[in-house]
């Protein structure tokens, strides 16, 4: 480990490793610190993602694809099932452990140094540089960097240490629990969603196949419903009723930020990306693609800023501008939809399902489903058309 790097990245998730790759590829010195012993572990993710989006950032490798998805199923509280083939969108469920490894390997091949078991506990400005304090395999270390990239996920303490407001309101976070279940009857090419105040108030249950008879089964509840009953207890109840004979291979907890993206994504010598920047799609909770996109943008902007010898917020703001131009409007539409959908009752879900059940399955699309979901709030129809067009 050197004493100084041009760019220091905190967090080895998809955002951090992607930023590391795209910065290092431009010939600047890059270091990445991950607190856990292994990149990509533990997996706190349902692992579903659109394949065409992934392909923009990494060559698809069947080794980290667990299953390919061609259909979706939605389940109402009383059990009405609305299932349809997806006409265009091709999805997959990843092996995140292997996928995250692949991203880290690419970063390392581009020239980035990566340290695991490296927990960053402090951030201090000294002039134009930043000093990071860390504990690396039990030893205290200090390094300096011209630019720090905060990719530290849900916790987002690095940006907080820099004085940026990252704390989430309860309505903007979903505590989650997930199990990988084996020996269960599922549709191996279908992602299923269960909507009900009973199963997951203000959120949903997902069943994402990882093989013929195994799946990630998890749920998130909205923070405003958290407290009386934990996400884990909700999940245990769901599994008991739907998969009573399952073998539980993993049980994990996690939190998803379902907030608006941070207003401030850069400061002097600092950039914030991925979950730390609250760039997750607030309606679906999907954040892999946003992490990759932000990682690439920020990595490139950071490297160019180093070459221009200017790490000021004014220079780094071109990352924020690019993010806003590409995803800003869309993510605000998703946020408005999330706010509405979160308030739907079990009766609403039944009415939506009953209306859709009358349609021939081959004519069901995500646009149709969400048009039904917002029919009592017509002002959101434009948002539905814009974000789901073509899906």
């Amino acid at each position: 480990m050197k004493k100084h790097y041009n760019i220091a990245i905190v967090g080895g998730g998809p955002a951090g490793t992607t930023a590391a790759r795209f910065a290092a590829a431009r010939g600047v010195s890059v270091v990445l610190f991950e607190k856990d012993r292994e990149i990509g572990v533990p997996v706190r993710c349902a692992e579903g993602v659109a394949e065409d989006v992934l392909a923009k950032y990494i060559e698809i490798d069947s080794r980290w694809i667990a299953s390919r998805i061609t259909a979706f199923g939605f389940h109402s509280p009383s059990g009405i099932e609305i299932a349809f083939q997806s006409a265009t969108a091709r999805g997959c469920v990843l092996h995140r452990r292997l996928f995250d490894h692949a991203l880290a390997e690419l970063a390392s091949e581009a020239g980035a140094e990566i340290y695991t078991k490296a927990y960053v506990h402090s951030l201090r400005k000294n002039g134009p540089k930043s000093t990071l304090g860390l504990r690396y395999i039990g030893q205290e270390k200090e390094i300096t960097a011209d630019i720090v990239i905060a990719a530290d996920g849900i916790e987002s303490r690095i940006a907080h240490l820099a004085g940026i407001k990252t704390k989430l309101a309860f309505r903007d976070i979903e505590p989650c629990a997930q199990m990988q279940l084996a020996n269960i009857d599922i549709h191996p090419e279908r992602c299923d969603f269960y909507l009900s105040e009973k199963w997951a108030p203000g959120g949903y249950v997902w069943v994402f196949p990882k093989g013929a008879r195994t799946a990630n089964v998890g749920l998130g509840i909205n923070g405003i419903h958290a407290g009386p009953k934990s996400a884990l207890n909700y999940l245990q109840d769901f599994v008991k009723e739907h998969f009573p004979k399952a073998t539980v291979l993993t049980t994990t907890a996690a939190g998803v930020p379902v907030a608006q993206t941070l207003k401030q994504l850069v400061a002097d010598g600092l950039m914030i990306i991925g979950d730390a920047a609250r760039q997750v799609n607030p309606l679906t909770g999907g954040g892999i693609s946003a992490a990759l996109a932000a990682g690439k943008m920020a990595g490139q902007v950071a490297a160019e800023a180093i070459k221009a010898d200017d790490n000021s917020a004014r220079r780094l703001t071109s990352y924020q501008k690019e993010w806003e131009k590409t995803y800003g409007k869309e993510s605000r539409r998703y946020y408005r939809l999330k706010d509405w959908v979160m308030g739907l009752t079990d009766q609403d879900f039944e009415d939506i399902a009953a209306a859709l059940a009358k349609e021939p399955p081959e004519e069901i699309t995500l646009v149709k489903i969400f048009k039904q979901a917002v029919r009592k709030k017509p002002s959101l129809i434009i948002d539905v058309l814009k974000v789901f067009a073509g899906l």
């Binding site: 849900i154 916790e155 704390k167 309860f170 976070i173 505590p175 923070g223 934990s230 907890a253 996690a254």
Partner: protein
Amino acid sequence: MILVDVNLCDLCGTCIAVCPVDCIELTEFDLKISHESCIQCNACIKICPFAALTSANVEVMEDEKTL
């Protein structure tokens, strides 16, 4: 004060995202709450996906010491 049940805590960091005074620190193996800065708002207790956090008053602590 907030107690962490280490048998339940999955070290996921969700509590940190809602802690208004940022008094929680998460390393690879440990969730630590700084009791000097904690304002007892109980946000972490409510949000915890596994219900691993509880609030205890000092008396309970004294009891535990004598056990």
